[in-house]
Amino acid sequence: MTTEDELALRTTLERLIDSDPLSEAASAGLNEVIDKVEPLLAGGRLNRVVELLSVLADVVDLADTHMIEHSMKVFEEAVDGYWSVSNAARMAGNEVIHMKEPPSLLGLLRMAGKPEVRRGLALILATAGALGRGRLVYDSVDPAGA
């Protein structure tokens, strides 16, 4: 911003403060804002804030309800994943911490006898299956080199 621009902005702001329709509270608020903005203007840092605002304005202009709804679906799935894993880890951690000794091999087998443990193991194996089907475990580079 040139000095001329800054002067123009200042006069506009001053005119705003002096104009009748502004209430006392609003004028006081504006004065406070000017005090805060002053060092930013002096250091030329306000330009960055304006640039940031314009990027933000572009984002808001480009975004629409569909885009937000789609991203929130991803957000919900991420929260779901975090929720399941962190809850499971907390509960399991609490169980393990109370074991005086690590379970023996037989003890591990006994644990695997519990239906909820078998369900968990089945989930892990099914997840491995899904990962395999989705080929996520393979090199992502196309072998045909296309």
């Binding site: 808001v60 709804e69 929130m72 679906k73 957000f75 929260v79 929720w83 809850n87």
Partner: protein
Amino acid sequence: MTTNILVVGGGSGGTMTANNLTMKLYPEIVGGKAKITMLSDSPWHYYKPGSLYVAFSRFFENELRRKQRNLLRPEIDFRVDAVDNFEFASSRVQGRSGKWYDYDYLVVSTGCLPAPERIDGLQEGGDHFYDYQSPLRLADKLQTIEKGRILITVSFPKTPNVPHQCGIAPPETTLMVDNLLRHRGVRDKVEIVYTYPTVAQTVRGGLFLQETTSKVMPSIFDSMGIKYERNFTLDRVDPEAKVAYSEEGTDHNFDILMATPPIRAVDAVVSSGISAAMDDEGWLPTDPETLKVKGLTNVYVLGDTVDLRISKAGGAVHQQTPVVVDNIASEIRIGRPTAAYDGRVTAIAQMGLENGMPLWYDYEHEVQPTPPNKLGSLMRASFNRGGYWAVVRGLI
């Protein structure tokens, strides 16, 4: 000895409270000194504000509900068993299964129910969006109306100074109806008439339940060509003639009657015998600060079941939850409640289909309306779709 905390109601308030309480009392829970049980009448958790969008064909049932079990911390013992009987004197409740559940602390968050049957002819002649089925019918009508008149009515509970559910919903949906009809290209042939009752909590002859907002409503409605009428307290509806009559002696004909119906607490709460609410509405007498049920030392209540003057809204529940959680935890740990509710409610109002308005108020301050904008609408959309489920899990 284990302290048993029983949460009744698996909706917004119950779920947030049970989840947050689990984390707050984690040391006691893993040490076997505290246990949290939740009873609800359904395995599903409905995002209730979503039904408002059902009326505008923007939400389907599977999008506004989730399995309650998946929303709860696994440490919580969740049972689907509707409570039929509260026995406060002996600190226990009875489920529909016949089983009794004892508690040391009880949290009641069973919400409220629309009760259009309380106004003669409203059930048959009117439409509303306070459950899932009714807005589906309303959506058909709003999508097909070509010309005529849409009448909006608002009914308050008979208990003085208790609001209807979600105070901002009537103006929100009025603006949404206007937008929808404009999109459909029939707005010029359909008249929209917004009416408001004479008594709206402390406001008399206004257009909203808070004075400041009530005063700015005419300019908003005028700019959109929406007609409005004060002092129209819905008394009865003639479904055949399609006429709505007011207690003040006026009437309006309509093609669609979009009503905010009377509401009441659920049966088990109404018949619990401790409500002082009028007309069998059932609101529990609530200490405005501790959120305890007045006269009972170990029962808390939050959400739509309270008899407080603040909004029956999720944005109120979100602010009440930490108070109930802190108070139960401090009672267990130091023998007295420590937190006080300041009446704060936060929300993002959907002002028409494309704009939103973030707002807040509390016991001391009214809503200060700000210009609705697109960012507000996007924030609301993100809350509708994913934000809510993170909030009820106690993550936000």
